[in-house]
Symmetry: C2
Subunit: 178 residues, 2 copies
């Protein structure tokens, strides 16, 4: 596999692929840095989301998180982005699940759960991002499964599955609060 | 916006973006051709899926479909890909919904519903693709909402929402069979 382009976010890779009849063709994939997202239950049991506006797009609702920097572990990135965006330090953080969105982009999203939050500063308003914190009760959190406002499709699936299956709902509840 | 790379599938675009404090930074996006997917109810009411194997990846389960070619309309691409992959000609085809998967790739997926199918040939086995047809009853179709095997996350959300809401289920049923 050969890197044919390196941009600020994306790199493009091409390779010769043998097909089923023995002939060959050039295949192409993109890759970009992995992302991290953090589910953080607050002391009052609400779940912390961010309404994130960037200069090139409308505000979107999502979990706190961002990109993993070069050479950084996903866990370190999760702690760093969570603190930057929300102003809270996660004294404990644990991996929950990871997935690769479908499509020809090599790119994983790693979910974490953050506990024992300690307020360090106000949410950071950088030149490139405007952030507002939003808080959802457990039932409101589940109802985000039906919300087009929530961008992460895999998270919506997790929430819809918890609505459909009392066992999954129970597991999710315990994971968040115990 | 300036195109800085054109590959076989992806192109990469960069532009100078003014930030909230008036400073500027280089932003980057990728784009690729749109995709089409076709929901096709058979005369026995089963829904047609394809198990699609390509030389660079494991078989995946999905709706018949593929990429929109340059200069082609989404509807023409849907008819063409559906015929190629399944061997059926859709005598009627109607747009259902479209969505853009989250992430920094400009790329839309257009869903269609195909009716009055006419068998033209066997599913095409090209050098670059091995295809097997699979058929799901309406209840099995709904149950694919919980299946990690099904790659399209937006389709899984539609199926889970239909399981949760009798009205949505009813609308989906009518859309498929009436």
């Amino acid at each position: 596999m050969k890197k044919v382009f390196q941009g600020k976010i994306f790199s493009i890779w091409q390779w010769e692929q043998e097909l089923y009849d023995g002939s060959k063709a050039t295949f192409e994939k993109a890759s970009r840095s992995d992302a991290v997202r953090v589910i953080a239950p607050m002391p009052d049991k609400t779940i912390l989301f961010v309404q994130d506006e960037q200069p090139d797009r409308e505000p979107v609702l999502g979990l706190p998180g961002g990109q993993v920097d070069e050479g950084e572990s996903a866990e370190t990135a999760a702690r760093r982005e969570f603190l930057e965006e929300t102003g809270y330090e996660a004294q404990r953080i644990a991996p929950l699940f990871s997935y690769e969105p479908p499509g020809r982009v090599n790119f994983n999203i790693h979910f974490f759960i953050a506990r024992d939050l300690k307020k360090i500063h106000e949410p950071q308003q950088s030149a490139g991002e405007k952030i507002e914190l939003r808080f959802f009760t457990f039932d409101e959190f589940l109802a985000l499964g039906q919300s087009e406002e929530l961008r992460d499709l895999r998270l919506r699936i997790m929430l819809l599955e918890a609505q459909l299956d009392p066992n999954k709902k129970d597991i999710l509840y315990k994971m968040l609060y115990e």
